[in-house]
Amino acid sequence: MLFNKRTERYFVWVFFPLALLMPLFLEQNTFYVSKLTTVMIFAIFVMSLDYLVGRCGLITLGHAMFYGLGGYIFVIIAPEYEAVNFWVYTFYICVIAALVALIIGFLVLRTSGIYMIMITLAFAQMAFYYFSDSIDFGGNDGVFIYVKPDTSIFGISLFDLDNPIHFYYLCLLSLFNTLFFFRLVIRSRFGRVIDSIHENPGRTTALGYNVFVFRLMAYTMASALGAYAGYLFTLQYGFVNPSMLAWTTSGSALVMSILGGMGSIYGAILGTLVYEGLHYVLEHLTEHWLLFMGALIILMVILFKNGIAGYLEKLLEKRS
């Protein structure tokens, strides 16, 4: 079974149909549609991080580098005043990001634990300062994208990216595909090796697996998906800024993924929704939202052993 936990099946059955219907209720207020779109895009990013951290045991604080690169690669390779094809550029961006990840992973994956956290951070910061000091790419202030790509395949255009509702569905589809994809990978034989490496790399080597290569594959895959999320984010408002690459972005994603429940994959969606939701609500309630946000986070760590997903599982799986 692909979604092998009851909780996860429930979640998928509740979340996706609801998300599918959501825009119908929100026709008046396109802001909520955009907001949810942003959340879903970030959830894709968080999910790819969750896979790395929770499933592969590769803790990185440099994942935002790929998020930002997703945007900047587009800015660099796409012509400025000409609509390009969305799918073709998705492919380009994922491939280029994967190549970058291959190189960086090759260096970074020699270390482990905190050392890996720091060396991934180092590379991300280099990329951050590269774009932030650059003059060509708008430096600290960022760059605009003036023309959005079109999404036609063989002349049939499914989505109009300038239409927030269309864009919403594109992102929803992407989110579902990402979840599906990761589930597939986790269930696969490759996934078994990754789980083994996560739990006991030394033993896995002794059994004859080339741990480094497996890790590199996982890293590359997750990074490419991270870049895809960044690409979507860039397209949403047509705006790229180096702060997308900043370590604080990686940090937020890490927070959301831990909050959601490390390694559960679907927890990434929960974590992002809850975090962004809380943020949104508190921000509108009080100027000192930070205080309450912090207190709630602390409370949640203490109460939930394995994040929100873990908590839900405890509630739901017990009965079975």
Partner: protein, 253 residues
């Protein structure tokens, strides 16, 4: 004996800083033989095994497997050549079931590890082989238990089951019986008796009953040096061995 030499070391040395944990060890391990290695604590037995399975790199010297020098290859490549090993300190996947522990080992050989799509739950063959390995090691009953929840002795059995599951041609066993009860030890002894008809086994063990019973050849090491190699009887009566290792009395502790 006239079995082919499968694994061989030539002048193998391993130094830790100033300490010569292994000093110029040249040994030959034959196919279908159980080669026992004994020696006082800290003699370098585990170190030798660690070198033979690629876990450590030798300071100097050569390791030859089926005629090829393999001391420079990567650790995982040792296992791929069929050199399997069990660890002195229990080394398993604690949160997975016993079956899953062995499946990981079987899968290496059966392939498909880079297959992102094929489900790991559709795996008749894999499970059969893994189950067989578990049963051989006497863990058939624990098949679906989570490894961290079985007792220490059972974890030692699992350790062996995992090596068997890789179906190696050379088995390096580091104190497989340590921590096991009599019955289990007996089981392992019987198991090794059948296995040694097919494999080359290198056994490091302090349980003298087992070693004497099983070994076709016995090497004694002391302080990183090779003391003697011979049949069980030759070694047992060697006064140097009694001095350094066995003790004088007849009692076996």
């Amino acid at each position: 004996m006239n079995n082919a030499v499968i694994l061989e070391t030539e002048g193998l040395c391993k130094h830790w800083g100033g300490l010569k944990a292994l000093d110029d060890i040249s040994l030959k391990f034959h196919d279908r033989e159980l080669h026992g290695i004994v020696g006082p604590n800290g003699a370098g037995k585990s170190t030798l095994l660690n070198l033979l399975c690629g876990h450590y790199k030798p300071t100097s010297g050569k390791i030859v497997h089926k005629g090829e020098a393999i001391d420079a290859i990567k650790p995982y490549a040792f296992a791929r050549r069929g050199i399997g090993r069990s660890f002195q300190k229990t080394n398993i996947y604690p949160s997975a079931t016993c079956l899953e522990n062995c499946c990981v080992a079987v899968q290496r050989r059966m392939g498909g590890s880079f297959n992102f799509l094929r489900s790991r739950y559709r795996q008749q063959v894999l499970e059969e082989i893994a189950t067989e390995a578990l049963e051989k090691a006497g863990l058939g009953q624990r098949r679906d238990q989570v490894a961290s929840r079985i007792s220490y002795g059972e974890q030692r059995q699992l350790e062996i089951a995992m090596v068997l599951a890789t179906s190696p041609c050379v088995l390096l066993l580091d104190e497989p019986m340590a921590g096991m009860g009599h019955e289990e030890s007996q089981l392992i002894i019987e198991l090794l008796k059948t296995l040694k008809r097919e494999y080359c086994i290198v056994l490091v063990e302090h349980d003298m009953d087992a070693v004497f019973e099983l070994s076709d050849k016995l090497t004694v090491m002391v302080d990183g040096q090779h003391l003697t190699t011979g049949t069980v009887d030759q070694v047992r009566d060697d006064p140097r061995v009694r001095d350094a290792y066995l003790g004088q009395g007849d009692e076996v502790y």
